[in-house]
Amino acid sequence: MKKNNLYTSLSPDPGDTPIIAEHISKSYNKGTAPALSNVSLTVKKGELFGLIGPDGAGKTTLFRILTTLLLADSGQARISGYDVVKDFKQIRSTVGYMPGKFSLYQDLTVQENLTFFAALFGTEVATQYELIRDIYDQIEPFKNRRAGKLSGGMKQKLALCCALIHKPSVLFLDEPTTGVDVVSRREFWEMLQKLKRQGITILVSTPYMEEAVLCDRIALIQNGQLLNIDTPSQITGTFPAALYAVKAASIYTLLKDLRSWNQVESCYAFGEWLHVTLRQHTGDARALIREYAAAKAHQQVTVQLIAPTIEDSFIRLATTNPLQHGTPNQP
């Protein structure tokens, strides 16, 4: 690692940019299974940054590289100004990491887990209590219960407490809401907003597109490549075409018919609707679509002009970006 010219090569100021990743690439199985290719991103201080992508996109690999658990094949990264390779020791005492898989001791109680991780960081639960109080209060009634016997949502809260116990300046949360019920997920995101207000920089990954709007900025990732980095509203705002939601009595035949129509650019199922974009996007094409559907003898045809969601943007970016690799493997 060329430490001397590191600052010159990494343009952002590490003072207010706690996470800087530049041209990170990583592959598994001796290069045969690429997981990340040329990923660069920066996260500003106090930002809630979302890494959005499907399973196997490379989210966990990027997290493991940034939290010093894995070495990248190429590229550089700095956390709070520390190099992930050289200064891994400093990074380990300044970041909090919550792995996607519940990684606390299931045979220890809630309190014992917390005390143990506090001790590993050379601190005590009492001194850090202010930071975790809001979250800890919710699991406090179960403090003598073994961690393995907690519900999914409680486990996540405990894991978050353990990740926060040493008052980290940067928090890495790898799919914290996967497998958690809707209510707990909403509560969890509220907690993240509170932590953000306390000045903690948060990098969170999720496969749920609807959670993306809760982030300040998001990066869309697919097959180890970043598709776009921007604020959620910018990403949906720059959707380049008019998006129509179409519904009919027989949704499956409608999907087949629309896909075979040369006017249609893209058509995919979205809940009970089909989301459609056309090749020529001038003016309102609702009537055009309705006519085509009627010509194909479809009943109860409804066509609406809708605002694109993050998921629409993601699908568009993922299908238009040429894929350079096969499906990468998640470790």
């Binding site: 005492s93 990491y97 990684s103 590993l120 353990c162």
Partner: protein, 371 residues
């Protein structure tokens, strides 16, 4: 040091919560030492004997009752003809057939000699071999007795070399004295080699090591936190084992207990290093179980616990001579049965120390490499 204390606290807490493992750790020495030496009894008893008595004379009757009274044989049938007796051998009810021919008594009295026929089922080699030799001994005894009876005075036997042997250090030739220290060594090996490697791999498997790795914990703290608890458990197992040996078998170590514990302490460190090494090369408990099992089978079978090292082929002898368990086994028997002193076993102690240092260094080096 504070961190290490917390890690140890956590390890012991987890150990005491896992009731199955806890019970295994402490029942293991009691049950294994209580049962295994009896099961491994090398004395062959209850040999099923079929007798073909075609003579029905007083002598034949005397021979049969002498065999029955020896305590080693169970006479399952007295068949009138060899064929019937052979049938009992074939169907497994008899192990050995003794055939007493028709003119047994007459030939003995008149000619002073009479061959007998012994047929042994050689499928269970040990039983038939040892059984036949017991039977020969009984017959030899009988032979001497009838000479006395017939002549009233002993016949000068040709070239009578009488061999009397004394078993040194184990005067009553109790096999338990030989087996129990061996089982004790086996137990220590299991605790040190198996449990430690499984425990570390479990952290990998559950994923907790991931969470540990992002903390500022140091490698040596983590490793010591794993090794010390199993070292303590090993010493407790040794203590329980020695108590069982004393209470069940009356085996009181002749040599110094301190020396025994010192040797065990060093051996355990070596073995924990082995366990750590296994855990660095395996990713889940199943893998580490098989790797550990593979090596421990070799350790146990080649160390001279069940078999004599001296009767192995040359290559096996050199493997055995290399294994630390062989030397440990030898030293434990030396201390317990013979009362060997530090001077006697210091080469072994040094050899074990080298393994302790070497294996741990290799394990820690490999542990670093994988990070």
């Amino acid at each position: 040091m504070r961190t290490l204390r917390f890690i140890l606290q956590k390890e012991f807490r987890q150990m005491f919560r896992d009731k199955t493992i806890l019970a295994m750790m402490f029942m293991l020495p009691v049950i294994q030492l209580g049962i295994l030496p009896l099961a491994m009894n090398l004395d062959v008893k209850n040999i099923n004997l079929a007798i073909v008595d075609q003579d029905h004379s007083t002598y034949a009757q005397k021979l049969i009752s002498k065999i029955g009274a020896s305590g080693y044989f169970r006479i399952v049938t007295v068949a009138p003809a060899y064929k019937q007796a052979l049938f009992t051998l074939e169907n497994g009810t008899a192990d050995i057939i003794l055939e007493i021919p028709a003119s047994f008594e007459r030939n003995l009295v008149r000619e002073g000699r009479q061959p007998l026929n012994i047929t042994a089922d050689a499928i269970n080699g040990t039983k038939s071999g040892i059984g036949s030799s017991y039977l020969l001994t009984v017959i030899r005894d009988f032979n001497r007795d009838i000479r006395l009876m017939s002549n009233g005075q002993p016949v000068a036997s040709p070239a009578g070399i009488e061999i009397a042997s004394t078993a040194w250090f184990n005067p009553y030739e109790r096999f338990t004295w030989y087996i129990v220290p061996g089982v004790l060594v086996l137990l220590l090996t299991l605790v040190g080699g198996f449990l430690s490697s499984l425990n570390i791999v479990r952290e990998k498997e559950i994923g907790t090591i991931e969470q540990i790795n992002v903390t500022p914990i140091k490698k040596w703290q983590f490793i010591l936190g794993k090794l010390i608890p199993f070292w303590v458990v090993g010493m407790i197992v040794l203590t329980i084992g020695l108590l069982v040996a004393r209470l069940f078998y009356g085996i009181v170590p002749v040599g110094s207990l301190i020396l025994l514990y010192l040797l065990a302490a060093v051996y355990l460190v070596a073995l924990l290093g082995f366990g750590l090494l296994v855990s660095t090369i395996s990713n889940n408990q199943l893998q580490s179980m098989f790797i550990a099992f593979f090596f421990i089978m070799i350790f146990v079978l080649m160390s001279g616990l069940f078999t004599s090292v001296d009767s192995m082929p040359a290559w096996a002898r050199s493997v055995a001579a290399f294994l630390p368990i062989t030397h440990f086994m030898k030293a434990v028997r030396m201390i317990i049965l013979k009362g060997s002193t530090l001077g006697d076993i210091s080469p072994i102690l040094i050899y074990e120390s080298l393994f302790a240092i070497g294996l741990n260094a290799l394990a820690i080096w490999n542990y670093r490499k994988t990070q």
